[in-house]
Symmetry: C2
Subunit: 647 residues, 2 copies
């Protein structure tokens, strides 16, 4: 569906369910809005000129106005193409701002079962193979295992080892199944390795073969069920990682793990969180957890070690040594996961203490390790990771961005939960904001993507300068001096959900600038280290839960993402979960995981001489050398500022 | 030491501690003795002519007689060479009987650590390798596992996998050991397989590397500790298998396993018995069970499945199918053994339901699978097994001999425990016996070796005929008719430990004849099946606890063993324990175990048409065709009978 904003002649495609206010923010049409989209403040009045829609009515709009087509933009949801007249005060900055918001990054065409099948690579790591044999006789009384191996050989299957319990269960399974059993076969991890029969069911039980892919994040846990028989994704569920109760970030948790019983409690918290998500997912998909035959897990190095109960202290201490790159498959139930005893858990390997299995999974999931194109992979987050390379080589580095992208270290910062400001624009003349919150409720704070949008909009409109300092001469009464110095009132107390005003301070902006500078310096240093620049890149892949709601242009304005055409950017969303899923579906990909780790050279930024130079140079919006490195943004800012001066 | 018996000019070598009575039985000099060697009956008077000795005095010998040198043979233990005058009544049968008892089977030169070292095959299946590395630094912060692998590579060690728990323990072990750890490495089972690091200790802990070899027999459990660093056997201990409480033989136990909880109780009984033996052994050797790093177990197919908790019912039911030939290494503690969690248990593979891991271990221990000589391997027992072949090929078969060899199915039969008649001869004229019991106490019954000695002596002296029937015309009052027909009183009530006479009946002899016939028919059929006869054999290897106390000549007289020169016979005693020990010391031998199983073709006697013919023909002492198949025994019997007729 399209929404056309008059009189500015700006048109934008919107997804179903998008409000007119959200559409205006993405289209660069500023409409004042204070209450986050909850329909309370009544400021976002627009006039619908044509088209079908739902909602938009309010006690703030008189019956007479309503009859003329006036509605609140924040609660008006189009059900057909709409033409909307925006308030005229918005006109003054539309022209320039529209240009900035035109492109939105494309969603990656992710690799899935269909692509794997087409490429002949749909070869689940765990196969269920029904085998029927002749019953034994006096002249043919080889062992039950020997009979199964003979049956498998007739099906072209060879090179087997057995899990003990599969042997134990086989004699009764043969007889109960009237000489048909279904062997659950864990494929060899290498070409010279052995396939392992890990379980047997009596009769033909090959119709269902469920795998669970798990992303164990520092903040959230996600899981998906995949039917390995068809490749179908049966569903996904997520929830918070209960380890949060022991610390928001990995360092705090590592410290907690030093306490008596601390590591065990963190291990159990992770396992319980995963089980909660699995149970929700089971209810949603109608899968019985006893049907699950295989599980994979990807997480950063700390999350992995905490989940496995491996002492994480040396991750935290210089020189930051992880316990292991690779772990063998382990019995999932041994770590408290609510699966049957035989279910193996495949653990994504890590490259380094701060380049973990989540990044390896993301790289694999994005396919950059089999692609000729030179790719920059960015996993945004408190512990950010960057990878540069292609199918022939890869270098990677961890960038300690700090928690600003996840709302940490920001006065009113919060995770992207209900009430978090996630989108923003500002009227350059009045300083009045347009605010949209997660869940469209009254604002409770601001999350990472909201912070980027806010800072980008304020920079473009001159409310802040390139150092992230407020223009104290601006006439808006939202600009004031608080206890932390100059600040901007994002939400007045009466419009928000808190018992005080929600503000943005200069220290908040310092934190964001440090975070974006750290990420920028990381990938620039990494590119530098291999003699490349951003202009050599064919693609930029963005991963992370955060990466899904980021707007490329705004991230470019603040100097977080390199100034490349938007079509070069690809979102893969939760790369960790993507990789965890793919590895279930394709044993060849499982082998490639090892190749990825072997291929990835870790680059320790803390000892790279140029890193600090790049970091310091990036402590500016968008950059100290914006005219060279961000010429487009530089020119846009100049254009908009000129417009404002002339107005 | 030698004992010379006058006036018969018979001399015999004896082991220290052997009584004059035992020596006389082995030398073929009959001395009446009723009380089993306990010094009670006073019948075994001899006169010591020269030499040093202890014991022999008795209230049954007057001071005057004692002064002349009279002693009881049963309690006289030589401490130097002795010359003894035996009672003259013994003269009449000496000449012929002496010829029969001249040779005693040699003890095999068993393969041990020294031989393995000399052959470059001392390569323990589990190695403890100390590794020292440089500490990590900012420019060298690979994972702890990566650092261990690098250290191992410098020592020429490669191709590793890790047990998860070894990874878990490694970070702290590195730091506690100041960058020295000792890796316990389970060697790959095949050339293409991976070595597995199963455990790490901080610092250098390679001085001690203890393995436990376990023989799980139907009746007894034996264990040895081996220091894998040196190859030294630290000690051995044995005890009864507590499963006996649930049934004497495997079939009864398999039946018991069908009951609710029965299999679990049998499993626990076996584990408890092994633990008891291990604890005794630990006390004896000063080894801490926590020092044990590797365990191996060999047992017949039923014992193996019962110990592992694998349903054994199909072993018992036609067509007698075992669960598996091979089992993977399993965690010993998972089956209740009192070792540390990381200790792997290697399980000897089985060829068939009735050719189990004990036989495979015995074959390996005897080295017949690497020897060019054509060998017949016989494991005597209720469930007897026979193997024919050499390094190029092997056929094997199970012979259900029945329990007679272990004292079962015999009216006064018993295991070779204290009070069991284990050696015997009879005076052909008076019918008076010479009896030695296990532990030299009053007789409580008769065990397998005693039964063979008794029947052989009675046959030779014509007290029984070739069908195992008593010569009812014999004047001895020990021959009488009891409730089971004609019988012979082995021990009068007043001389024994029971409240009644201990007798040998014709049904007892029928049982022995069936047992020996079954074993004989088994190896003859097996040889037949490959176009050979006993005369093609270079060696006969006898295994089994029973095999250690059997006298070759007497076993030939009854037609159990083939009539070959005594030097062709080799005792390996407990072959199962021997194999279990060797496999710890040599990973190459561990690989060979698989080769043995693959090489051994099981021959199912129950469906071999000729087996029943051979069996029926062997229901005679020594055989219906004794003149052809046992010509020596045949001639000796004829000679002795002639002598007796002429006397």
């Amino acid at each position: 569906m399209k929404i056309r904003f008059e009189p500015f002649e700006v048109e934008i495609d919107v997804e179903p369910g998008t409000s007119v206010l959200e559409a205006s923010l993405n289209a660069g049409v500023h409409i004042n809005a204070s209450c986050g989209g909850s329909g309370v403040c009544g400021k976002c009045r627009v006039k619908v000129l044509s088209g079908q829609f739902t909602g938009g009515e309010s006690e703030k709009i008189s019956a007479e106005d309503a009859a003329q087509g006036y509605r609140l933009a924040c609660t008006t949801i189009p059900t057909s193409d709409l033409v909307v007249e925006a308030p005229v005060h918005a006109a003054r900055d539309t022209a320039a701002l529209t240009a900035l918001a035109a492109g939105t990054a494309q969603t990656a065409k992710l690799i899935g079962a269909e692509e794997l099948k087409a490429a002949g690579r749909f070869d689940p790591a765990l196969a269920k193979v029904p085998v029927t044999v002749d019953p034994p006789s006096a002249t043919d009384n080889i062992s039950d295992v020997g009979r199964l191996l003979r049956g498998l050989r007739k099906l072209g299957e060879s090179h087997f080892a057995f899990r003990f319990e599969a042997i134990r269960d086989l004699p009764d399974a043969w007889r109960q199944g009237n000489w048909t059993v279904t062997a659950s076969i864990m494929r060899a991890a290498t070409r010279t390795g052995k396939n392992q029969v890990i379980h047997v069911d009596a009769g033909d039980a090959s119709q269902r073969n469920i795998a669970a892919a798990i992303d164990l994040g520092t903040t959230t846990v996600w899981a998906q069920f995949i039917d390995l028989a068809s490749g179908e994704i049966l569903g996904a569920e997520g929830d918070f990682n209960a380890q949060i109760g022991y610390g928001e970030d990995v360092i705090t948790r590592i410290m907690y793990a030093r306490k008596d019983g601390g590591l065990r409690r963190l291990q159990e918290a992770a396992a319980n969180s995963i089980n909660e998500v699995l149970r929700k997912l089971a209810r949603k998909t109608g899968v019985d957890l006893a049907e699950v035959n295989l599980a994979t897990i990807a997480g950063n190095t700390t999350m992995t070690q905490l989940f496995l109960g491996v002492n994480p202290q040396y991750i935290r201490l210089d020189p930051y040594v992880p316990a292991a790159a690779y772990y063998p498959p382990v019995p999932a139930h041994q770590f408290g996961l609510a699966f049957n005893d035989h279910v193996p858990l495949l653990i994504f390997p890590a490259v380094a203490s701060y380049v973990g299995g989540d990044v390896v999974a993301g790289v694999m999931g994005s396919g950059m390790h089999v692609d000729e194109r030179l790719t920059l992979f960015i996993d945004l987050g408190t512990n950010g990771e960057v990878v540069v390379g292609n199918k022939d080589w890869m270098v990677c580095a961890a960038a300690s961005a700090g928690p600003a992208f996840e709302g940490g270290g920001i006065k009113f910062g919060m995770r992207a939960a209900k009430g978090a400001i996630e989108n923003f624009s500002v009227d350059p003349f009045t300083g009045e904001p347009s605010i949209v919150t997660v869940g469209r409720g009254r604002a409770r704070g601001i999350c990472g993507s909201g912070l980027i949008a806010t800072v980008a909009s304020m920079l473009m409109t001159g409310i802040i300068d390139e150092r992230g300092k407020f223009n104290v001469d601006h006439p808006s009464d939202r600009l004031r001096v608080g206890e932390d110095g100059p600040e901007y009132v994002l939400v007045w107390q009466q419009d928000g959900a808190l018992d005080r005003d929600i503000t943005l301070t200069e220290p908040d902006m310092d934190n964001l600038i440090r975070a974006k500078g750290a990420m920028y310096a990381a990938y620039i240093t990494l590119l530098d280290s291999v003699g490349l620049t951003v202009h050599d890149l064919d693609r930029v892949i963005l991963a992370g839960g955060f990466g899904q709601s980021i707007n490329i242009e705004r991230a470019q304005i603040i100097g977080l993402l390199p100034e490349l055409p938007p079509e070069k950017f690809i979102f893969v969303g939760n790369g960790s979960l993507l990789g965890a899923r793919l590895v279930c579906m394709s044993n060849r990909l499982r082998e490639e995981v090892t190749e990825i780790v072997e291929k990835m050279t870790n680059f320790e930024l803390s000892v790279a001489p140029k890193y600090m130079d790049h970091y310091m140079a990036a402590q500016f919006l968008p950059h100290t050398e914006a005219n060279v490195l961000f010429p487009g943004v530089h020119a846009q800012i100049a254009t908009v500022r000129d417009m404002l001066r002339q107005a």
